[in-house]
């Protein structure tokens, strides 16, 4: 038995925290480069937060940050936006490092659930974090997109090298989706928060409904449509589960391109990415095999999320203190989730995810309605 396998089976007895510790301690020796990155990220984050806790153990947020910012403002005056006197700060019940640790732990859990439940991290992150944390919706959406982008980029090399992801299939859809997501993101930052929250609630409840009613798969398509032929969208792969080579192509490419306008707008406006819609569109609408769809979905997300992320970055809607712990937590969580996957029942987790989404969606819907009416 290889050292990795030995470690794998012995670690199965432990709960998540000892397993995470084991990953952090042995990542460099036993887990290879992919795990090294996550381990390094987490280890440095924890070291950094620990050092901050030692340095200022009882610090709380000042009630007026503007007073602290004042000395540095002169040099920036020419470049800065108008410093509005209406902006107010509030006292925080936790110091900054407390929030960072809380967010890291919470997103780690979300990452585990996202992998086991088979949904994108972004679609869980935005509605649930906006419901439970005191961050403005703009920053949650900005962080959600960065989380979706980093997760997709981390997974992309393995998916592309494995030959399962099809760039011929993904690139045309991503082109339409990323252009639409720029519009969606811009619109999302322009519309009143209550309206965006209301629309998010409707979208999330719709996505949860899709998860309930959508069939598990579709028949693999063997006849192309003219657009698919022109774009050369076809391929084949060896399916180890059935023991033979699967030839595939797609149909309804025109409809899929139209669908990606909507997917891009929704993904950009709410910071969800496109993970929630890619697989159903590629399989149910276009007839791509599920394995090709899952792999290609990751590639599409790298481009769609990138386009929308620029809008949030340029709009100042990305705060490092929210985004960095979220990225780290989600990456660690997805690694843990991937390892736990063989030992849990995905159907049960998927039901829990659906209930969570319905709950978060309804909360968003009600909060949005109250905001719009009130």
């Amino acid at each position: 038995m290889s050292p990795t396998c030995a470690n794998h089976s012995s670690a199965a007895r432990f709960v998540q925290v000892p397993r995470l510790t084991a990953i952090l301690q042995t990542g460099i020796v036993r887990y290879g480069p992919a795990h090294m990155k996550t381990s390094l990220l987490t280890l440095l984050l924890i070291v950094c937060l620990a050092s901050a806790m030692v340095a200022e153990p009882v610090t709380t947020a000042p009630t007026d940050a503007r007073a602290e910012l004042a000395p540095g403002t002169d040099q920036n005056d020419r470049n800065s936006v108008n410093p509005a006197p209406t902006a107010t700060t509030i006292a925080s019940p936790l110091p900054w490092w407390g929030w960072a640790l809380l967010l890291f732990g919470f997103t780690t859990l979300l990452g585990v659930i996202a992998v086991i439940g088979g949904v994108g991290g972004g679609v869980l992150f935005v509605p649930i974090v906006s419901a439970l944390f005191p961050f403005h919706f703009d920053f949650v959406r900005g962080a959600g997109l960065m989380v979706a982008l980093c997760g997709a980029l981390s997974a992309a090399p393995r998916l592309l090298r494995g030959g399962m992801a099809s760039i011929r299939l993904g690139l045309p859809l991503a082109l339409i989706g990323s252009a639409a997501s720029i519009g969606g993101a811009s619109l999302g930052l322009l519309l009143p928060t209550s309206v965006v929250e209301l629309l998010l609630g409707i979208s999330i409840v719709g996505i949860a409904t899709l998860m309930i009613v959508a069939p598990g798969g579709s028949r693999v398509q063997l006849r192309s449509d003219p657009i698919a032929i022109a774009l050369g969208i076809r391929g084949s792969y060896y399916d180890t589960s059935v023991g033979h080579r699967v030839e595939w192509t797609v149909h309804r490419t025109g409809w899929a391109l139209v669908a990606y306008i909507g997917i891009g707008i929704i993904g950009g406006m709410f910071g969800l990415g496109a993970g929630w819609a890619n697989v159903p569109t590629l399989t149910l609408l276009m007839g791509a095999p599920i394995k090709v769809a899952v792999a290609t979905s990751g590639y599409i997300m790298t481009l769609n999320s990138s386009a929308a992320a620029w809008v949030y970055l340029n709009g100042g809607a990305v705060l490092a203190l929210i985004t960095v712990p979220s990225i780290a937590g989600m990456m660690v969580g997805t690694k843990i989730g991937a390892r736990l996957l063989p030992r849990v029942r995905p159907r049960v987790i998927r039901r829990i995810v659906t209930i969570l989404l319905v709950g978060a969606g309804l909360r968003s819907l009600v909060a949005g309605l109250i905001g719009v009416i009130g």
Partner: protein, 143 residues
């Protein structure tokens, strides 16, 4: 078993070349993730530890994140457009730079893929990759 390996059709030859481009692209994304994550970790450590001076101290952020992005930018004198690039010695903007590396790298890689597809005799893929890079560039500089 399979004698067709030595006699690929023109279409199969193009697919082999495209497969090579995909693997090259995958390798480049791997480098991008490693570089971006390392930079992000280093920048975040420098920022939160206070080793690098910052115009937005980390302990002030929990008092501000209830504001909208526009109000928060106004309250913290955030520079507009790309002018932050001249202030990367400020811890706040160094972390921002490290976050920007992810979408910027994605844009660069899809732009690099375009001529590779052209060389692989896939002009339509090359054009779509170029258009995608243009869309991402538009998002980066014009929105």
């Amino acid at each position: 078993m399979n004698e067709s390996k030595d006699a690929l059709t023109p279409d199969e030859t193009i697919e082999v070349k495209i497969g090579f481009v995909s693997r090259t692209y995958a390798r480049m994304i791997g480098w991008l993730v490693t570089i971006s994550l390392s930079t992000l970790v280093a920048a975040f450590v420098l920022y939160v530890s206070g080793l690098l001076p910052s115009s937005l101290p980390v302990e002030t952020i929990p008092g501000l994140w209830h504001l909208s992005a526009a109000d928060c930018a106004a309250a913290t004198n955030r520079t507009i457009g790309w002018q932050w690039i001249t202030q990367v010695a400020d811890g706040r903007y160094l972390v921002y730079l490290s976050l920007v590396l992810f979408p910027a790298g994605t844009m660069l890689l899809v732009a690099i893929a375009s001529p590779l597809y052209l060389r692989a005799r896939a002009p339509l893929m090359s054009l779509i990759a170029l258009l995608e890079a243009a869309v991402l560039l538009f998002a980066a500089i014009a929105v």
